[in-house]
């Protein structure tokens, strides 16, 4: 199947996916570096290119609240935000998941202040790690487009009914122009039929959502939420298979590159995986047996895929673009370690925190981290984690 590829800023590609998803309600508050998504969607709504209600809200808390109300009434809804905006809406993120509303959000990842920074890292995404949203990290513009559209389909599946967040790196992805393969409106309709909620706020079949639960109910409610979020894994895989048969692009929770015979595997989420892939190829030329694991699916956490992809390696170098201040390692590294804790054969997991607040991680940096991890291993003094490239 060959299709035209068009040059699009990745924010625009995300907005185009939302338009093709035929959303009913968009509520967003502009914040750098998410702004272009909000801008393009508001233009589309104003110009009649998208038959959606665009709600100009006064804050991100309201943006998510509007999405919750609209989704509860049966509308297909979308929002986008970054950093402080996400922090401000975080209260409502838990509610969206608890109410099991299939809202889709683009999180254009950016550093949480202070000090004030508009640049990208994953500190915002990691701050809402436990809020109960399906969460994916995109590596390039095509993935942003594809994941956004897939998001509605996955979220609205009656075996799922969870909100869905696609994370795209602020600036390094959001503001970059890339060739993106789009799909036709008709194809989008076929892939994503009209949303038909089973439960919604409607006078014909009155229900109450988000009621009070006493302690003798709450644990069961959370357990069901947890089990069903984990079970959404199968639906995600199913939708990815269908996507591949329709549009020819395949996805998996972890996209591996040269990992089969690798002694060391670098694992990273988001756009920097692109640089890491080049770094891996360079290191291979130098004779280092290195592979790359680009983590796409963050929630539900793909435990089995982690074990399968990384289990045979001697060393795994996890590069987190977020610091768990005062913690025991980068947020992803911590979970990777947990994945192996009970396994008989486990790689050593080195945790580096790099690429904070938009700082570049070059090919040479990936190589330096791999070499450093080996050195620590040889000396037997691997730290729990290290902030890479920080001036002493």
């Amino acid at each position: 199947m060959s299709r035209d590829r068009v040059s699009l800023e990745i924010c625009e590609a995300c907005a185009e996916a939302v338009r093709l998803a035929d959303v009913d309600v968009v509520a967003a508050y502009p914040i750098t570096p998410q702004t272009h998504i909000a801008e393009v969607l508001s233009e589309m709504a104003a110009d009649g290119k998208m038959e959606a209600e665009y709600v100009n809200v006064e804050s991100e808390h309201s943006a998510m609240s509007v999405c919750i109300g609209a989704s509860a009434a049966g509308a297909r809804t979308f929002t986008a935000t970054s950093a402080q905006g996400l922090a401000l809406m975080s209260e409502m993120l838990y509610i969206a998941s608890g109410l099991r509303l299939p809202i889709v959000m683009a999180l254009v990842t950016r550093t949480l202040s202070a000090p004030l920074s508009i640049w990208g890292d994953h500190s915002d995404a990691m701050s809402v790690r436990d809020c109960g949203w399906i969460t994916l990290f995109a590596e390039n513009g095509q993935e942003v487009f594809d994941f956004t559209l897939q998001g509605f389909r996955i979220a609205e599946d009656e075996r799922v009914w969870f909100p869905f967040m696609v994370c795209l790196d602020g600036f390094h992805l959001s503001h970059v122009i890339e060739p993106v393969e789009l799909i036709e409106e008709e194809e989008a309709r076929e892939f994503l039929p009209t949303y038909k909620p089973k439960y919604r706020l409607h006078p014909d079949q009155p229900v109450s959502m988000g009621c009070f639960a006493m302690p003798d109910y709450f644990s069961e409610i959370k357990k069901r939420q947890d089990e069903e979020l984990k079970a959404s894994y199968d639906v995600i895989i199913e939708v990815w298979r269908e996507w591949e048969s329709r549009f020819g692009r395949s996805y998996s929770p972890i996209v591996a590159h040269r990992t089969e015979d690798a002694e060391v595997v670098v694992l990273i989420a988001g756009g920097y995986a692109g640089t890491a892939r080049l770094a891996v190829d360079e290191m291979r030329e130098k004779g280092l047996k290195v592979g790359l694991a680009s983590l796409k699916l963050w929630r539900p956490f793909p435990l089995e895929d982690i074990r399968k992809t990384l289990g045979h390696a001697r060393l795994v170098v996890v590069v987190d673009r977020a610091l768990s201040v005062g913690g025991a390692g980068g947020p992803i590294a911590g979970e990777v370690r947990s994945a192996f804790f009970h396994e008989e054969k486990s790689p050593v997991v080195a945790s580096f925190v790099a690429g904070i607040s938009g700082r570049d991680v070059l090919r040479s940096d990936f190589e330096a981290m791999v070499r450093k991890a080996f050195e620590y291993l040889d000396k037997g003094d691997l730290p729990y984690y290290e902030m890479f490239g920080v001036r002493e």
Partner: protein, 95 residues
């Protein structure tokens, strides 16, 4: 008490399908002080009825305003808002 549901059978997203079932919850259990009305002072302005946060003040053409102690939680808002000091809050244990 009915058997509590397991996580498998608990309602999806804890949705409540029975409208108005909050009325089964008797908030009067919370009360430590009870409002009492002095019918001599009451001019039937309805202010207490408007301010009461529960459906705990009832209106009746003949008898005027009365309290429904099944729901009155004893917050004292009615007593505070009454412009004629017709409502006094009485400790439940003082009986």
């Amino acid at each position: 008490m009915a058997e509590l549901p397991s996580w498998r059978t608990i309602n999806h997203a804890c949705i409540v399908f029975q409208p108005g079932n909050a009325s089964e919850y008797l908030t009067g259990d919370w009360r430590s002080r009870r409002p009492e009305l002095d019918k001599e002072k009451c001019v039937r302005c309805g202010r207490c009825w408007m301010y009461c946060p529960e459906p705990a003040i009832l209106w009746d053409e003949v008898g005027g305003y009365t309290f429904d102690y099944r729901y009155c939680k004893g917050c004292g808002i009615c007593a505070r808002e009454c412009p004629y000091d017709a409502i006094s809050m009485v400790e439940e244990c003082e009986e």
